[in-house]
Amino acid sequence: METSIDISHFLAGAVLALSFVLLYQARLFALFNAFAMQSIALAMAVGWQAYSQGASHLYITAALALVMKGMLIPGALRWVVVKMGIHRQIDPVVSVNLTLLLGVFLVILSIMVVFPVAKMEGGIAREDLAFALSIILLGMLMMITRRNAIGQVIGFMSLENGLILAATGAKGMPLVVEISVAFSVLIAFFVFGVFIFRIREHFDTIDVDALSEMRGDAE
C-alpha cells in the first residue's frame, strides 16, 4: 500500500515538474517536446492508478494520453509550424524568472488550499488533488504569459492533463474519464481545423497580439 502511494505520488510529481519545464521554454519545438514528455508522464501516472485501483477502463485513458497527446498532437503541431512557416521563437510577456517564481507561489497556494480542506482516509486523493490543482494553475499561468496562440493551446492542454490526473485520482468517478478523453480529441480538432488555419488566412503571424487591434470598440 505504502509503495503504491509512493509510486503514484512520484508520477504525479513528475507531471508537475514537467509543467515547470513547459513554463520556461523559449522555442516552439522544445515546448512541444516538453508537452509530449508531460503527457507520457501523465499516461504512466494514469496507468499506475488503473493498476492500483484495479480499474481496467483507466488503461484506455492512459493509452489515449500516450498516443494522442504524447505523440500525435506534438507531431501534428510540428507539422503545422513547418508547413505554415511560423516564427519558432516565443516571446514571453513576463520574464522567465518571474514566471517561475509565480509558478512556485501557485504550487504553495494550491497546497495551502487543498491540504487543510481535504482530510481523506486514504490520503491518496489529498496529495493527488494538490498536484492536480498545481498543474491546472500552472497551465493557466502559461496561457497568460504566452501571447502566442500555439503557446496558449499548449497551456490549455497541460491544464487539461491536470484535470485528467485529478479525475483518475478520484476513485470510481463515473463517465468522466471517457468524457475528458473525448474532449481532448475535440479540442485538438478545433484548434487545428478551425482556428489556426483561419488565423493564418488573415494574418502573416500567429501572434495573438496581432489580433487585439481588431476590437470593435477601438477608439
Binding site: A118, M140, F156, V176, F190, D217
Partner: protein, 479 residues
C-alpha cells in the same frame, strides 16, 4: 409521457443535426431547423404534464421544466428569425451555403445540449451539456471569418475553456466530497442524491468545490470580472446567435450555479454561497452599468446590458428566500424574452443600415419607422420602464432587497438608474436626428420580435395566476 417528451427534446434534434449537415439547400435547411425547434418546444410543453421525478439520469422538477420551456420557446422564435435573417447574409456573401449547413447543425447541437444540461440529474452530464453547447456557439461566433470574428471566437474559446476546466475541477471535488458518504460510482454524482445528503458532507471540501464551480460556471454566466469574452462574442457572431447567447446560454450556466447552491443550502457549516453570488451580482451590475455609456457598437451595448441583468438575477438568487427567488425567476424570464427580442430588432437594423457602429445608425424614426418603434419598445422595456414585465421584476428585486438589506438596495437601485440613463442616451441618438449612412429594405421576419415584446408587455400588465403559482413553487424549491 416523460420518455416521449425527452425523445422530442434530446433525441429528435440529434437525428436532425445529421440531416442538416447533409442538406445543401439552405431553404430546406432553415425550414427543417424551425421544425426541429418546434418539436423540441412541443416536447417541453408536454413536460408540464409529466410527473416530477428524480431518476438515475434525468431529473424533472418545476425548476427545470420552466427553464426548458423558456429555452425551447426562445429557440423556436430565434430559428424563425434566423431563417429569414440568413437569406440576407447569403445575398451579401458574408455566409456561404456550405457554412450554413454547419450553422444549422450547430444550432440544433447547442439547443439539444442545453436541454441535456437542464434535464440531467448527473453532475458530469450537466458539465458535458454546457461544454458542448458552448463549443457549438464558439464555432458559430467565428462563422463570418472576419479578423474580428476570429478574435472574438478565440477569446471566447480560451476563456470559456478555462471556465469549464475550473467547473470540471469543482465537479471532481464535489464527487470526492460525496464519495466518502454515498460510496463510489454514479450515486455520488447524482444531483438529487447530493442535495438530500448534503448535511453529512464535509463542509470545508464542499465549500471549496462550490468556489470552483461558481468561478467556472460564473464565467459562462458572464459575471464580472469573468465577463471578458461576452461582449466580443455577442458583437462579432451572427445576430441570431447573440440572441440565444444572451437569452439562453447565460441562463443555463446560472441554472448550474443554482443547482450547486441548492446542495450547499443543505449543509449549514459551509461558507455562505448566497453572499458570494450577491457580491458578484452587484459588481457585475455596477460595472456593466458604467460601461454602457461609452459603447460605440450597438451589439456590444446590449451585450453589456446582458451582463447588467445577469448581475441583477444572480444577486436576487444569492439573497434567496421565496420572494427574492420569485423576483429572480421572473427577471430571468423577462430578460430572456426582452433581450432576444432586442437582438432580433438589432439584426434588422444592422441589415437595414449596413453597419453595427452606432455613429452610422441615426434617425431611424425617419428612415425606418417600424424598426424605430420596435427598438424603442425593446430598449424601454429592458431599461425597466413600466408597464413592461422587466419593470415588475426589477421592482420586486429592489423592494425585496429594501426590506432585508437597505444599503444593498441603494447600490442596486443606483446601478439600475445608471444603466437606465445610458440606454436612454443611446436610444435617443439612434432614433432621432437626421438619418445618415446607407439605407436598405429589411427582409427578415418581424413576427418573432413582436411576439416577444407582446409577452413582456402582457407580463407587465397581468401575470397569469397559473404562472405565479408555478414560480412560487420553484422559489420554494430553490430555498
Amino acid at each position: 409521457m416523460t420518455t416521449f417528451a425527452l425523445i422530442l427534446i434530446l433525441v429528435v434534434p440529434v437525428i436532425g443535426m445529421a440531416l442538416l449537415a447533409l442538406i445543401a439547400n439552405y431553404r430546406i435547411g432553415s425550414t427543417l431547423n424551425v421544425l426541429l425547434s418546434a418539436t423540441a418546444f412541443a416536447g417541453a410543453c408536454l413536460l408540464f404534464w409529466a410527473p416530477m421525478q428524480a431518476g438515475r439520469f434525468f431529473l424533472i422538477d418545476s425548476f427545470n421544466i420552466y427553464l426548458v420551456a423558456l429555452n425551447s420557446f426562445v429557440g423556436l422564435t430565434t430559428s424563425i428569425f434566423s431563417a429569414t435573417y440568413i437569406a440576407h447574409e447569403l445575398e451579401k456573401g458574408t455566409l456561404t451555403p456550405k457554412s450554413l449547413r454547419f450553422y444549422h447543425a450547430l444550432y440544433q447541437a447547442m439547443m439539444t445540449f442545453m436541454g441535456l444540461a437542464l434535464l440531467t440529474n448527473n453532475l458530469g452530464l450537466m458539465w458535458v451539456g454546457i461544454e458542448i453547447a458552448t463549443l457549438s456557439t464558439v464555432v458559430m461566433v467565428g462563422i463570418y471569418r472576419t479578423p474580428q470574428a476570429i478574435e472574438a471566437a478565440w477569446k471566447y474559446f480560451i476563456l470559456g475553456s478555462v471556465g469549464i476546466a475550473l467547473a470540471f475541477f469543482g465537479t471532481i471535488l464535489l464527487y470526492l466530497t460525496a464519495e466518502s458518504v454515498l460510496g463510489e460510482g454514479v450515486p455520488a454524482m447524482t444531483l438529487s442524491n447530493l442535495q438530500s445528503n448534503a448535511a453529512q458532507f464535509d463542509p470545508a471540501l464542499l465549500s471549496l468545490a462550490f468556489v470552483f464551480l461558481l468561478v467556472g460556471y460564473g464565467t459562462k454566466v458572464g459575471l464580472a470580472p469573468l465577463h471578458a469574452w461576452l461582449p466580443d462574442a455577442h458583437a462579432e457572431g451572427p445576430t441570431p446567435i447573440s440572441a440565444v447567447l444572451s437569452g439562453l446560454l447565460l441562463n443555463v450556466a446560472l441554472y448550474a450555479v443554482l443547482r450547486i447552491k441548492m446542495i450547499m443550502a443543505g449543509n449549514p457549516d459551509t461558507i455562505p454561497a448566497g453572499l458570494a453570488m450577491m457580491i458578484m451580482g452587484l459588481t457585475s451590475l455596477i460595472f456593466a452599468a458604467v460601461m454602457l455609456y461609452r459603447r460605440r457598437d450597438i451589439k456590444r451595448l446590449f451585450a453589456y446590458s446582458s451582463i447588467e441583468h445577469m448581475g441583477i438575477i444572480t444577486f436576487a438568487f444569492g439573497m434567496g428566500g421565496p420572494l427574492a427567488n420569485f423576483a429572480g425567476l421572473l427577471h430571468m424570464t423577462m430578460h430572456s424574452l426582452t433581450k432576444s427580442g432586442i437582438f432580433f430588432a438589432v439584426g434588422h437594423i444592422v441589415q437595414a443600415k449596413g453597419t453595427q457602429k452606432m455613429s452610422g445608425i441615426t434617425g431611424l424614426a425617419k428612415s425606418h419607422p417600424s424598426l424605430a418603434w420596435a427598438l424603442g419598445i425593446g430598449v424601454l422595456a429592458i431599461a425597466g420602464v413600466p408597464p413592461f414585465g422587466v419593470f415588475t421584476s426589477e421592482f420586486l428585486v429592489v423592494t425585496t432587497t429594501f426590506a432585508r438589506q437597505p444599503v444593498l438596495a441603494m447600490i442596486l437601485a443606483l446601478g439600475i438608474i445608471v444603466a437606465f440613463g445610458a440606454l436612454l442616451m443611446h436610444l435617443q441618438k439612434l432614433l432621432f436626428g437626421e438619418p445618415g449612412g446607407e439605407s436598405h429594405k429589411v427582409k427578415a421576419s418581424a413576427l418573432p420580435m413582436f411576439i416577444h415584446f407582446a409577452l413582456v408587455l402582457l407580463a407587465g400588465l397581468w401575470l397569469p395566476p397559473i404562472l405565479v403559482e408555478w414560480f412560487k413553487q420553484v422559489a420554494e424549491v430553490l430555498g
